[in-house]
């Protein structure tokens, strides 16, 4: 087994908001995680392709421009077809269009098959803890450190 988890990052669809996913990628690397950084405006298929090629543990997708729901129609299904049932699906950013309750987004994207859904301006360090926890729960044990 690999000695460190592998995570795919990027913003999905034609979303140009790259700042967040760059920060996430850096934080993951600094936490000792292997990162495949796809950057902004990445098609859902590219995420799947990258996950297959790198035997990734998780996808951390970002979307800020409000069109994630459309961009990700049937994404979970495609993942399964591609044999990625073992891969964790996380998403964050600003998922809805105008001002609204985050709960709606969370419900919606969970139903779409995402394991974790993060609210706007979510703290990435907390998410890294979630990731390591979820992986451990699936028997994928990596040395943890306190204070991430």
């Amino acid at each position: 087994m690999k000695n460190k988890p592998t995570v795919i990052t990027g913003t999905v669809g034609v979303d140009a908001h790259v700042i967040g996913t760059k920060i996430i990628s850096r934080a993951l690397r600094d936490a000792g995680i292997a990162v495949v950084e796809l950057g902004a405006q990445t098609a859902p298929e590219e995420f799947i392709k990258a996950a297959q090629e790198t035997d990734a543990d998780a996808l951390m997708m970002s979307s800020l421009y409000g069109m994630a729901e459309i961009d990700l129609q049937g994404f979970k299904e495609k993942c399964l077809e591609a044999g990625l049932e073992g891969v964790l699906l996380y998403i964050g950013g600003i998922l809805g269009v105008s001002k609204h309750d985050f709960e709606e987004d969370e419900k919606k994207f969970k139903e779409m098959g995402f394991d974790r859904v993060y609210p706007p301006q979510a703290d990435i360090h907390g998410a890294i803890n979630d990731l390591l926890g979820d992986l451990a729960a699936r028997g994928k044990l990596y040395e943890l450190t306190a204070n991430i």
Binding site: K4, K22, D30, G32, H125, T145, N147
Partner: protein, 497 residues
Amino acid sequence: MMISVRQKQIDEEEFLAMRKDVLSLWPTGKEVELDEAVEYQRNLPDSKKFYKVLQKVHDEGRMVLFPRSGTPIVEDEIELVHTLNDLGIPLIPFTTDSYTRNLQFDKAQRGLEESIKSGRPMLNGYPIVNHGVHTTRKVVEACDAAFDPRCSRLANSLVGEIAFASGMTAMPNSFFGWIGGYDKKATVEECIQTSQYLGRLIGYYASKGVIITTDCHGWLPNGVIPMSVNIATQIIEALISVEQGVKCVMPQVNLQGNMAQDLADIRATPRLYRKYLDKLGYDDVIIPGIVGSQVPLYPFPQDMGSAFGYIVYTATVAALGQVDACFVKTIDEALGIPTKESHVESYRSAKWVFDVVRTQHFEVDSEDIRQEEMITETEVTAILDRVLDLGDGDVAVGAVKAVESGMLDSPFSINVHARDEVLGVRDLKGACRYLEFGNLPIPEDIKQFHRDRIAEREKSEGRKMDYYSSIDDFWAISEGRLLGRSSGRPKSHGSNS
């Protein structure tokens, strides 16, 4: 490397040939009759000529709000603009939808039809190409305002053709904006070529005596950094445009929260524009006024009170700096596309301070402002001179080489050709300084100034400034602070890393 692009006006034959391809991208292209369009523009009332309106505001010592607009259904768009007019807003930036920006006009068509059917906007902007010239002229004619459409690289040329033929009288031509924020893969040359087309088109109108304004946004700051690269790249965009015949450019000053720096940049920017326009022989180009902008792309406060605080504070600084127009965000900025109501409330809060502050002719001056002015001026001059050197006097060639070599660089850019090696943090007084200079051609003594200021803060906070300090400062404004608090960088957990 072989660079194909040059700082040289596209000759008329070639240009007219290029136009055919552009206009053939979508049927409505046929609605554009260049000479008829020039006539149409000539007969517009002054209240629809962007530069005239801006000049008038400037001469009256007033300032106006620079809003956002752009919704798919024509009637809605007209109603929105009327609402903005009622708030005393005469200059209307006009956003096109994302499909249009990506030349996906069929999708835009579907979105438009669904919008009309459902009565709700299904596109995040006005699909100007699908609406075409005849329909868009209806909008222009129904509103007493000057329009300034927004687009990205791919559709820039066609959108410009249709917008101007429809009577819109300004448009950004900011290829560094695409590099910083909109276009992942385009090369710098492709970006420059696209902007040369728009410049040439505006130049054609100019040659017939019709002045269309070009706003230059430069390389938008995606993080906490000084504005020198942004200002330098605005001027490069202006130079590329005016060589194509553009006769009127509008600078934008990005207000980042530190008064000394913001007020200094407001003073220095137009002066630097003038300096390089004249130096390179474009002294007939006019600068009708400048727009202040709440643009450094910081995350916004999520609660309404703080959001109003940030908006009104920015408007106050802009008013103290006596800019002519000011763009502010809305209270929904951090949450999603603003509703019409939050547009109105947000603009009212900013507008309240404009008149109150401008009436006072309150003169602010200080050592700090003068120092920041000197720093900005030295940095911008150093950068621009280096760019011109790199191109042996050809700013287009210089720009390509400069990005490639990191002589022009800005953090967190989307474009894969950008180096992304620079980084900034705030100093003790909240001014933005360079933490990492990357390959920027900034004079050593100025670099030392940045280092000293950062050292001062490190001393007072008892911690080293690093990548994460930069991110903490980036978030700070959304928490009602200029200086970020350490969020603690994640420790590596892999033994082998």
